[in-house]
Amino acid sequence: MTPVLEIADLQTHFANRDGTVRAVDGVSWNLARGETLGIVGESGCGKSITALSVLRLVPTPPGRIVGGAIRFEGRDLLAMDEAALRRVRGNEISMIFQEPMTSLNPVLTIGRQIAETLMLHQRLPRRAADDRAAEMLDLVRIPEPRRRLGQYPHELSGGMRQRVMIAMALACSPKVLLADEPTTALDVTIQAQILGLMAELKARLGTAIVLITHDLGVVAEMAQRVVVMYAGRKVEEAPVGELFARPLHPYTIGLMASIPRMNRGGTDGGRPRLAEIRGIVPSLKRAPVGCTFAPRCRHADAQCRAAYPPLAEHGPGHVVACWHAGRIAEGGHA
């Protein structure tokens, strides 16, 4: 199956006073039609910059896409002129963010904002655009959609705004939805509503989703495949079941061991120690020598400190960038 979106060897750098930060340093992945791909990693790993790069929304300067290719249905988004790109943005590929107010205009009514997208991209007349906007609000289960059309963003709760943003993003039936921490700012009961809504809309509209999150629970629930990023690079990728059952990169293993899980403490009410990943995320200012995770990794040896490990396949669709992944796979991850 040909992927709808293809990222190949993407390099996005930021220039600042002390040099160049390699925020995204050679990342590749594919997104199949109708699929949900999870991208996980901690702050500063480059997951959001990857998504912003897809729509060329990286603030330039200081940011710049310095290498690689981004192909949407075979067309190279990096080679497109602004006018052509505008026809893709918000139309064929749209994006939602953690904070809805970053994409909602506070001085325009909800209805006007959704209708504008439709008038611009789908060339709908005003009347039809308004009707479609009301339909979209109904689709994301906002009660009394007609009345809501006349309201301003500040009149809505956080969960409602997130729904409006999703309605806006999906108004033009995009083929790809880039969702950057879409539920992180929401309470869990509202998060459950929004995740349920996204899954349902995906099933109904066939939109492929790139779901960026730091929350392994959200990924486990939503994604079919997962990319794990660390310090600007993809360190592991696998189908979701495989990744959680058999994580192979020491960083992925560490990440999974460090999260407290509900109902795992047994029934004695004890407080088992959490596994820590010692140390901190490295600076991305220098081109790293060796594996970027080596300073924090208990498997690291001379080879790890000398050369960055290439991505290698360790099972169907399961790739890992670790010199010791084979040994870890054999020995379990004790």
């Binding site: 869990v188 929350d215 629970g217 629930e221 079941g241 899980r261 109902n263 990943i277 901190i280 995320v281």
Partner: protein
Amino acid sequence: MPEAPLLEVDGLVKHFRLGGGLFAGAGATVHAVDGISFTLRQGETLGLVGESGCGKSTAGKTVLRLLAPTAGAIRVDGADIAALGRAAMRPYRQRMQVIFQDPYASLNPRMTAGTIVGEPLENYGIARGAAKRERVARLFDRVGLRAEQMAKYPHEFSGGQRQRLGIARALALDPRLIVADECVSALDVSVQAQILNLMIDLQEETGVAFLFIAHDLAVVEHISHRVAVMYLGKIVELADKRALFHRPLHPYTEALLQAVPEPDPQVKRTRVVLKGDVPSPLDPPSGCRFHTRCPIAEARCREIEPMIREVAPGQMVACHLR
């Protein structure tokens, strides 16, 4: 632990009057905390959970008397501090400390880390000069920072290290109680694990009690001995963590636990998704405050407010139907 509780909160109320005449709702009352009671023993962690706007942070600040309570008692070692004046509060302030979510906002950027951590020692006349420096160095060591980092400024530390600084400062006066308000929610999970482990170690060494306020249920289950669940200013359930997480009795607790996505793709869970948003604390619903979202509410729930009572040993629940 049979001894008397270190902290006893009894019918605590905190209302805010909205002032000014310009805005809609002026003169209205926010029922942020509306009659909550709990105890905390030495060496114990009580988790306080709930969604935004449930009043958990206000409860923490009011217990510390950073906000003046509207009604109710706050007994520390048996003495009610709810109405104490500034001077009479001072010895209690020494015993009760706080750690906030954003360590950066709570650390003065113009002071060195050593000065920040040593400041309470000087304020309370406990140590100065070389003696102070030595105590600060010991505090640094205790929270996993190096003594030479005392000369650095807050911006030179990572998020996790800044939270260690906040903890060091809170520990400087050997407090008996620390209110930790979302103290790990801004941290990445690998760093969060370091801080949670540190807090448990420190509690085991010093016997300090934690009122651990957070919205992350897995984190709260991990660190707490007992857990209280708040909804719109009320405690709806309070129990040993084992009981609360394995056998929640209040329908809100149940829905809250089911809403947490589990980091295991094999688990296909059944979930009662709550409809709608939390109602406004300006005008909380009549009867049981949860009845507007409750999947099992009956007629009486709309009219009569359920009192919190012991439903199973050590498990307090405020629900007519349980």
